[in-house]
Amino acid sequence: MTHDTQAAEAGHAPASAAWPIRLDGVSVIYPNGTAALRDVSLTIEAGEMVSVVGLSGSGKSTLIRTVNGLVPVTSGTVTVGPHTVSGLSGRRLREVRGHVGMIFQGFNLAPRLDVYRNTLVGRFARAGVLRRLLGVPSARDRQVALEALDTVGILEKVWARAGALSGGQQQRVAIARALSQEPSIMLADEPVASLDPPTAHAVMAELARINADRHLTVLVNLHLMDLARQYTHRMIGLRDGELVYDGPAAEATEADFEQIYGRRIQPPQRPAEQP
């Protein structure tokens, strides 16, 4: 991380400090009546790396999206660092979001645009009124974005179309986009579900490295229990929108996972399939 020290020496603003996340009695009921989260309370300390596990539809994505206000809470409060997210809107909400990086299962890049322009999206929230109007990045915006691409090792693809890259490369660009925000929290919604196992490990290792080097708070949704055990410190289990597990990830057993899922991990043997 040589460029971090360089940036500090050059007199840039210091990398923002990690923020804690606090959910207090959070419930989310979607307009169609589905209760995605029921009275979830939890505290994540600044700099922790936490995984959220659960079946599809258990509320993992909703939980992570309440942190940056992509999903508004029906009741309860969400606090990140000094800000209460619930109830914010407009300029104030965008300002908080600027401090919260997020990566997605589908990478969410604009495939026709080059890597450079996709990465600069991470600087949008920091643009002043005039730059916002003109859409021209500042020298510092360019510097931060290019350094972020360098950090994730994909700087040589800076002029390539995002859609021309492999899945693993696209997720790296998405990480660089989030890092250009100079965030205090990093959210990851199923970041490796569309990737092959070696690429998945590479991306998880990248997130762990960001957590260690930049002391960012990282909250990551995962399907695979091995990845949760290997890369995260703490694991939160959701079932039907309720918090059913909260403990150290490394010690979670298969029984713990079956308790989170509410059913067995291996299907019972079918007689027809016996040799």
Binding site: L70, E95, N108, V121, A125, R177
Partner: protein, 276 residues
Amino acid sequence: MSAPASPGPTSEAPLVLPPRPRTWPRRALTLAALAAFTLATCLPAIGGVEIDLGAIARNWRHGAANLSALMQPNWAFVPRTIQPMLETLQMAFVGAAIAAALSIPLTLWAARPTNPNTVTRTAVRAVINVIRAVPDLVWATILVAMVGVGALPGLLTLVLFDVGIVVKLVSEAIDSADHPYLEAARAGGATQGQMNRGLALGQNLPLFANQWLYALELNVRISAILGIVGAGGIGRLLDERFGFFAYGDVSVIILEILVVVLVIEAASNLLRRRLA
């Protein structure tokens, strides 16, 4: 409707299918309704259209005479058509360019992913729909009455017509696609304006370019006849020569329009293939 129980060489028990849904009564009903409606429109007793096929037999001699006149183009007339033809092309190109510029903000305001505000989106769409509902020749007639005879009302007609087409088609294409990159930008604290200019426009530029070229093709075709109502271009000459029964001249004009339209279409197809 029983499942076909044809035990193959490898299967021991017949397959049990769930009952197949019965769809044919509905399909038959739809077809019958369509046929009845078509028949009804042909009945003069209830105000249906009267189509007298006998007119073809009665007047064919007349038509044949005109056709044979058209078959003998008066090539000496060509020099007089060049100036109006250039005016037509100018109207088509300038109209398409102005419409392209106008269509960018209007389209982004008319599509849900790029304008989540229901009130402004509905307003823009309503205006576009009204513009589209009025036929181009009607626009031209109204505008000739408003700003006078010449190329200007023709140009305005083409701009209105193009904006209606481009905004509707492109905004609907944007609506029907997924835009996950916009969610990522929103999560990062971007304003809608930043997302639209920085991502949505660049990502959807091929959709725009396609319709802009299509608008240009249509413009060449339409501007050729706008002159009939006094809105400038080759159409005015066409109308005038027709009034003098100068079919040799008319023939030249028609051939010229044909050639120009084909050339523009070929060029636009070439460009479009490049864009894909």
